[in-house]
Structures are given as structure tokens and as C-alpha cells.
Amino acid sequence: MAELSPFGYRPRPAWINDCDPRIKLAALAGLSVCSLGAGWLSLALVTSVAGLLWLGLVPSAAVFWRHTRFFLFLLMVIVLVRALLTPGQVLLELGPLRLTLEGLKSGLLVAWRLLVIVLLGMILTASTSSARIRSAVAWFLKPVPLIDERQAATMIGLLIRFIPVIFRQVRETAAAQQARAVAASRNPLRRAVKLVLPVTRRIFLTADRLVYAMESRCFTLERPFAPPEGGKNDLPLAASALILCLVLLLV
């Protein structure tokens, strides 16, 4: 079975897949901005909606965990650092370290906001093909002067497609090095250099092959993009996003 990845779009029978990519992009931008100042209640509401959307797209919390486990660990560090550095009512005292209630609350709130933004971004990339994101970006960039919207949109499409390729090649190279006992080196810098060099070489060779593949298929920037089409769920999605933005701002 092909691996599920939040960065890799696969057609799935989810209602959000058919929505207009322009509305999805606008909704994501709006929700990301609004969630930066959101409170507990509104975050709970947005997380519930986003969680249901995610489970509708990728019916596995394990996939989300696998792709965000390092980020979740970093969020835990943020919570801990805030809890230890913010003055307030002491909950726990371990020698010189004081864990405060105010710090814990503030850390959890910041971590939750970041998690919501990450979840929303993953929903967009998991529910929209890079071609549709490309056409939506081109549509938004068309009125902007000095930017070639077709080239910019194509590059964003390529960026989205390259990210899972890079992750896969890092994984494969690390596994190959582990099999050859390269990972046995105790020096983390040495290990990192030994990983980065072959990975970047392989990735650039992959990019070269992509260029040949595009050339052999007569790729040109003049080729018309598929228009960003919508579906019958556009209006509910736009209305839901607008309501959620208002809730994030007002509650």
C-alpha cells in the first residue's frame, strides 16, 4: 500500500477534496492569522472541526502522529520552557526550577495555536493536488505586478512535490547508512555531515531527472493551467471558514 503522507495528495472520497482550491487557500490564510490570537474555547472549536476534517481525509491518527511527532515534542519543550520561565503561582518546585500555573497556561495556549496552524496546513496539502494549488496561486498572483504568476505557481507546485521526496530520500539514506554502521559514529556533527552530503547529491540528481522528464513531455510555461474549479461544497466551506474566523477573533 502506498504510504499516506500529509504532504502527498491522494484522491480520496472526502468532500473537501472537491472544493475550490482558491477558497481553501483563502480559508487557510484567514484561519492561520485569526488563530494566532485565539483563546481556549475558540481553539477547541477549530481543533474539533479540523480534527474531523483530517480524519475524513486520512482516517488514521497514527499518520498525523508519525509526521508531527518531532513537532509535538518541540511543542512540549515550548510548554515546559514557558512554564518554568513565567512568574506566577508555583505548582511544582524542583530545586531552583519553579513550574508556574500562569506559565503552564500560556505555554499550552501558544502550543495549541501552533498545532492548529500545522493541522490546517496539512489538511490543505493532503486534500488538494499540487496542480490545483498551482492554479489557485496563479489566480491570486495574476493582479500582482512584477511577478510571473505562471512561473511562481509552477515553482510552488514543484516545492510541494519535492518536500515528500526529500523526506523519503533522507529516510532511505539514513537506513542505508545504518546498515553500513555509519550511524555508529558518536559525533552528531559527523553523522549529520555524512547524511547531508549524499542526500543533497541524490536530491539534485532527482531534480535533474525531473527536468529531463519535463522536457521530454514538452513542458512549457505557456501551456494553459487547468482553471481552479469548484464544487457544490464551496459555499458551505467558505461560510464555515468565515464563521470560524469570527469565532477565533471574538470568543
Binding site: 487557500l25 487557510l28 490564510a29 492561520s32 492569522v33 488563530s35 494566532l36 508531527t68 513537532f71 518541540l74 519543550v77 515550548i78 520552557v81 501552533l114 496552524i117 500545522v118 496546513g121 496539512m122 490543505l124 496539502t125 499540487s130 494549488i133 496561486v137 491570486f140 512561473q151 511562481a152 509552477t154 515553482m155 510552488i156 514543484l158 516545492l159 510541494i160 512535490r161 519535492f162 518536500i163 515528500p164 521526496v165 526529500i166 523526506f167 556533527l189 549529520a192 555531515v193 547531508v196 552530503l197 543533497t200 547529491r201 536530491i203 539534485f204 540528481l205 532527482t206 531534480a207 535533474d208 531527472r209 525531473l210 527536468v211 529531463y212 522528464a213 519535463m214 522536457e215 512549457t220
Partner: protein, 187 residues
């Protein structure tokens, strides 16, 4: 420019944008400004692609982040992130990539000019980032420098050395040599 080279430039610039995004995905939060690997790939973009294409790579990365794609530090994205406390660093990357790229175009692979350009580029990132951090968070200058610059200087030195080493390894294969087609697919 011949279309083949133009296409290759575009693909390489997109690839560098993706590498910058992956470098941002792993971030270590030590304060308002996290330690990330973005700088390494920004410098690498300049060394490998030249000024205009490196700036295009960073520009596309910023545009993707502004659209809300999860490409900024820790997998976040959105205009709020771009205008938030670390936004100055992100815009600083644009100037840094351009500077290193232009220096690399003129230095023809010589070590000292490239190292000096990378040091200057790292300082330019702070020139954008620290005042922005001070302005957005309301810190005083001393604290903004203490949390937004000082903790990263040692790491920057390592990243500059690593960028030069990786660029030296990659330059021979970026000379538009034909690569035999393989079954591996992108995506």
C-alpha cells in the same frame, strides 16, 4: 536563456525552496526565535544558484508560507507568521540569499570571498530580524540582541562551514551533465 537552462533553473530554485522548508520543519525552540536549519539552505541556495535564482527560491518559499502552506519553522505557515516576531528573519533570508549568490557568481569558487559573503549575509539576516523582533515584541535592544542574535552565532559559524562543504560537493554535478533516466519518480 535557453529554455532547457531556464527550466533547470526553475526546478533547482524550487528544490532549494523545498530544502529551506524541510530545514525549517526541524526547529529547536530556545526562546521567541527557534534554532532552525533554514539558514544553511539559504546560504547553499546562494552558493549554488547565483543571486537572482537564489532570491527567487527564497521568494517562492516566502510566498508558499504566506499562502498558508506549512513551510515555516516547526511546520507552521500563514501571513501571521510572516508578520510575527520572526518575520524579519524571513525577509532577511531574501537579502542574504541574493548577496551570497551575487558574491558566488563573482568569486568563481574562491573560498575567502564566499566565506566573507556568508558572514555578511548572516549579519544581514540579523539586521532585518533583530529590529523587527524588537518592534513586534516591544523588547529593549539589549534583550532583543540577547534572544534574537547571540544564541545563534556559534551555530551560524557551523552552518557557514557546512554550506561551503556541501556546495563544494554539489557543484560538479550541477554542471548540466546528462543524467541517465531512472525509474524513480518525483512524488
Amino acid at each position: 536563456m535557453h529554455f532547457s537552462n531556464q527550466l533547470r533553473s526553475m526546478v533547482y530554485a524550487s528544490l532549494m525552496s523545498a530544502l529551506i522548508a524541510v530545514g525549517a520543519f526541524v526547529s529547536i525552540p530556545i526562546g521567541p526565535v527557534p534554532i532552525v536549519m533554514q539558514n544553511l539552505f539559504v546560504l547553499l541556495a546562494g552558493l549554488l544558484l547565483g543571486g537572482n535564482r537564489a532570491a527567487a527560491a527564497v521568494g517562492i518559499y516566502l510566498l508558499a508560507g504566506a499562502c498558508g502552506l506549512p513551510v515555516f519553522a516547526g511546520g507552521t505557515g500563514g501571513l501571521g507568521r510572516l508578520l510575527g516576531p520572526t518575520g524579519g528573519y524571513l525577509f532577511g533570508f531574501l537579502a542574504a540569499a541574493y548577496l551570497v549568490g551575487k558574491a558566488a557568481e563573482h568569486s568563481r569558487g574562491r573560498l575567502i570571498p564566499e566565506l566573507m559573503a556568508m558572514v555578511a549575509a548572516s549579519l544581514i539576516v540579523y539586521l532585518f530580524g533583530v529590529p523587527w523582533l524588537k518592534f513586534v515584541t516591544g523588547m529593549d535592544w539589549q534583550k532583543a540582541v540577547a534572544v534574537g542574535m547571540v544564541p545563534f552565532l556559534a551555530g551560524d559559524a557551523v552552518k557557514i562551514a557546512a554550506a561551503r562543504a556541501v556546495a563544494g560537493s554539489l557543484r560538479p554535478i550541477l554542471s548540466l551533465q546528462p543524467v541517465p533516466p531512472r525509474e524513480e519518480k518525483v512524488g
